[in-house]
């Protein structure tokens, strides 16, 4: 496994020598978007060095602190910085996976005794004191209905990230998405470790870079609460002096304000807000990407544009609270689900977003056997990886296809990710049900209905 991890790094180091390769990747719409492109960053740095406000024009849409960083950095160092960040991400993922493996080991299953008498007794018992039974703990290792899980190998999760071609191309293209992924993963890592201040700082940094990671604040504060063994939210005010979420929100807000303040001091004006977050929110740059937004807003009737912008943005964040409440026992799972939602429905998604959530999905490998469409999803994933660049070339370069070709494939990417999302949540729901309430249906091919 270590060999594979090293291989991932070696591939990056080998390919980084080919600068033309990096440049080509940076020009691919699937890999770099208007808000993450390295070429646009170079343009921003050039404008800034020439005393032209980079946020004035319509090319540069990235955060001022990143601009300052790339202004300072030596050009030769930049590709290695991205590789370093990727290694860091993999390392953090391994740490998170270690925590997750421990969590999985400690998971309790409601005991189930397959003999008929016992079952009847249990049912009688259940009807007598209906809800207290579910609280019953203590795993019987001999219980044959409890599925034997293959243990989660933490390093494997890191390897999934490092060897994923999607993360390799994102890293080589020097997409700013790597900063976003690194900040989110670091935030989750510190949340898992219960380091509230660090966690919120990195999440604030991630949101500062690309806005959408603000969704992770709630699950991360739940992770912090879980790890510190405190309540997520105070029941009655002042009853318990420390509860994770309000403090987290406060810290997050403070850090965000601080980061924006520093940016303002750096740039000397608030112009950057419109050119960074304004672009993410209002989508004025309609360059194609793997998401759903670009074509709908190219084709949108002008009078409905604002309405659909609102609808699309609301759908991204609509399930933040419901999902966090539903899976309050599994904040890390919520993080994974939010990863999928963001990668599917954010305004400028790229393949790097997919590469960022896949390791989190792999942390829940015990769910795979509950997923019905995994085969289809995997195949859709592979085929779209081939068809996206192919159809883009047909449209833009060969001229033998039109925009609909590429659009159709982005639709399939959307379908695949929505299927994955549904399957992933569905599997979790099913497993949780079988662990507790639905113990009687464990391990059987049985019809289960949502009611």
């Amino acid at each position: 496994m270590e060999v594979l991890a090293v291989l991932g790094v070696v591939i990056r180091l080998a390919l980084v020598q080919r600068t033309d390769f990096a440049r080509t990747l940076d020009q691919r719409v699937e890999v770099s978007t208007p808000v993450t492109s390295f070429k646009r960053m170079q343009e921003g740095v050039f404008l800034w060095r020439n005393n032209i406000n980079p946020y004035e024009g319509g090319v540069f849409h990235q955060a001022p602190l990143l601009l300052a960083l790339f202004h300072v950095l030596d050009d030769r160092m930049i590709p290695y910085l991205f590789i370093l960040l990727d290694i860091l991400v993999a390392k953090m993922l391994v740490e998170i996976a270690k925590h997750r493996a421990l969590d999985l080991k400690n998971q309790t299953w409601r005991p189930f005794f397959p003999s008929k008498e016992e079952k009847e007794a249990l049912l009688a018992h259940e009807s007598a004191e209906s809800k207290t039974v579910t609280k019953e703990s203590g795993v019987k290792k001999s219980d044959p209905t409890i599925p034997t899980e293959s243990a989660l190998v933490p390093l494997f999760v890191g390897v999934v990230y490092l060897l994923n071609p999607l993360s390799i191309v994102t890293c080589l293209a020097r997409s700013m998405l790597v900063f976003n992924t690194a900040a989110v993963v670091t935030g989750v890592y510190f949340a898992v470790k219960g380091r509230q201040v660090y966690s919120m700082f990195f999440l604030a940094l991630a949101s500062y870079v690309s806005m959408y990671p603000v969704m992770f604040v709630l699950p991360c504060s739940m992770l912090i609460a879980k790890s510190l063994k405190v309540k997520i939210w105070p029941n009655i005010i002042f009853e318990q002096p420390f509860s994770a979420s309000p403090v987290s929100f406060l810290l997050f807000a403070t850090f965000t304000i601080a980061l924006l303040g520093v940016s303002n001091v750096l740039m000397g004006s608030w112009d950057f807000l419109e050119s960074t977050y304004g672009v993410i929110l209002l989508v004025p740059d309609l360059q194609p990407n793997t998401g759903l937004w670009w074509y709908i807003f190219i084709e949108m009737f002008d009078q409905f544009r604002l309405f659909f912008l609102l609808v699309f943005q609301v759908f991204v964040v609509a399930f933040v609270l419901p999902l966090s409440l539903k899976f309050r026992e599994h904040p890390l799972f919520v993080v994974a689900v939010f990863g999928i939602i963001i990668a599917t429905f954010k305004s400028y998604p790229a393949v790097g977003d997919v590469a960022a959530y896949i390791p989190f999905v792999f942390m829940y490998q015990e769910l795979f056997k509950y997923m019905k469409n995994l085969y289809i999803i995997t195949h859709l994933g592979f085929s779209t990886c081939i068809l996206l660049p192919l159809f883009y070339n047909l449209w833009i370069y060969a001229g033998s296809g039109n925009a609909n070709f590429f659009y159709a494939i982005t639709l399939i990417v959307g379908v695949a990710q929505v299927l994955l999302l549904g399957d992933f949540i569905g599997a979790m729901v099913r497993r949780e049900w079988e662990r507790g309430e639905g113990y009687a249906f464990r391990g059987r091919r049985i019809e289960v209905m949502l009611k």
């Binding site: 020009q27 070429k39 646009r40 170079q42 343009e43 050039f46 404008l47 020439n50 032209i52 004035e56 024009g57 319509g58 090319v59 049912l123 740059d285 309609l286 360059q287 194609p288 759903l292 670009w294 074509y295 709908i296 190219i298 084709e299 949108m300 002008d302 609808v311 699309f312 759908f315 609509a318 399930f319 539903k326 939602i341 599917t344 429905f345 833009i396 370069y397 001229g399 039109n402 925009a403 659009y407 639709l411 959307g414 379908v415 929505v418 999302l421 549904g422 569905g426 729901v429 309430e437 639905g438 249906f441 059987r444 091919r445 049985i446 019809e447 289960v448 209905m449 949502l450 009611k451």
Partner: protein, 554 residues
Amino acid sequence: MRRLVAIIIAAWVSISASAAQSTQHETLHLHQRPSGRVTAHFAFAQSVAQSQAHALDDIARGFGIDEMALSFTQGTRCDSIATKVGCRPPGVVLWAWMRNNHSLSSVDTRWSALTNALAGTFCASLNFITPENSAEPQSSFTHSSVNSSLSSLRYASLPREITCTENLTPWSKLLPCSTKVNHLAHIKDRKMKPYCILGSKAGIASLFNAYAIYDADYHSMSVEVSRKCTSDTECTTEIRQDLVVALDPVRKGYQRNMDWSLQFLFGKEVAGSCPLNEIETNILVTLPKAEGFEFEGKVKPVYNDEKNAWVYSLELAKQFSMGVKYSDSKPDLSEKSKSTELIQIHRHLTGYGRERGGIKIRISNRDTKPRTVTLLEVLPWFIKLYMHTLQRTTYHITSQEVLSLSGEVVNQTLKYQPAIPRIRPSVIELTATLPGESITVFTFQFDRAFIKYTEHPPDANRGFDTGAAILTVHPASRTEKEYRLFSDVLLIALPTPDFSMPYNVITMSCTIVALYFGTVFNLIVKKLEGLDDSQLKKKWWMFWVKERSVLGKK
């Protein structure tokens, strides 16, 4: 230059003589090249004093204009030797110096008002000049007579604007001798030719035959207005109108020879000189050969060494026609259109596909001295420029050896205004010194923006025209004058969406959003429940499904 001085002197004389009179001047210069092509340059000048009325004077006064130039051009086969006013890029080019403090409104408001007023005057779509394609150049178009601290400059071009008779008619109405001859007849001469009375123009303007002019390889129609005030109340507006038409008698005639006449080229004759006072109507003819030809027509021209041309002076109300017949009328087609201009600019696109691209600008300097030039590029916002990719290579004109720049030659300043989508264009002003006998190539890259389907023109796959780059050649010495060169117009094709798709896209994309919402909502809200036997009863159509053992109700 000399002519300009003459006009100014004439204007001055006329003002001092009688302020109520305007001075006019019209010249037709027919310049034939060895290839047989005849460039006809109609030049009209007039000076409108304070008390007189003229549509352009009204505009200049109303919008606080110091100087203004407008040109309508079509065709690219312009002969820079034969054209004294220079070659202009296709479409419409307009620039104006406008006074900053004006009682009415700001410069930008007046600029849009000016474009609308000119649109009405010339019956052209100048109202498409908006802030989205207007620029404020800093170091191009500088002019000694305008105080740049008191006035602001606005520049815009519409490269796709097509010029035709509907523009020529209002343009020729602004000429000094535009009034119909029959109207003037009672003042000057009651014995006009009948066809004059029917409404054609007098003077050289009577040659304006739309069929001939718009059949030309190149035609450019321009107006230059400049307003000078000696005191607060005493202002004169000088108006220069030029029409350059490149005609080809070799192409036009059946004999494929160089012989031509006014009747042959324009299908018309000159209806005498302009019947107004102070008018000097001249026809100048420059021929490629010094001998071996003879002039047709009643009047014979006089050779003027100074002007290097044969000169006809027109008389009032006397039909005039002329022609040239060569003894050897075979055109010398081997003669390449070798330009004698010292500095030349050429621009083209690089790259392929509809996503990325680059622009390459090649400026050659044949002069032995280094020259300082300013390159002005105004590019629409949907061309997303990457100025960090700007590169310069300078090499020797004959040896093609790359020159390493040093000393004063190396100085190069870039003024760059990034475009704001849908609001303003990108403006690049690059001032550079070109070494003597060198070719300098500038390259930079751009991305073609993906724009909304409503922002595409009706024939979207043709692409967008982008205005010509303007090269301002700064004077090397005090005696020289600054002049401008225009590059080629670029046609940039943007990636197009499928224009028939709006409903389909909204439907399909929203289906995915609905799928997402429905799935997740169901999973969150609903609870799982195992089905009992009764619910799992085999349906009649499930004959292939095996009976399954089902646990009882939970």
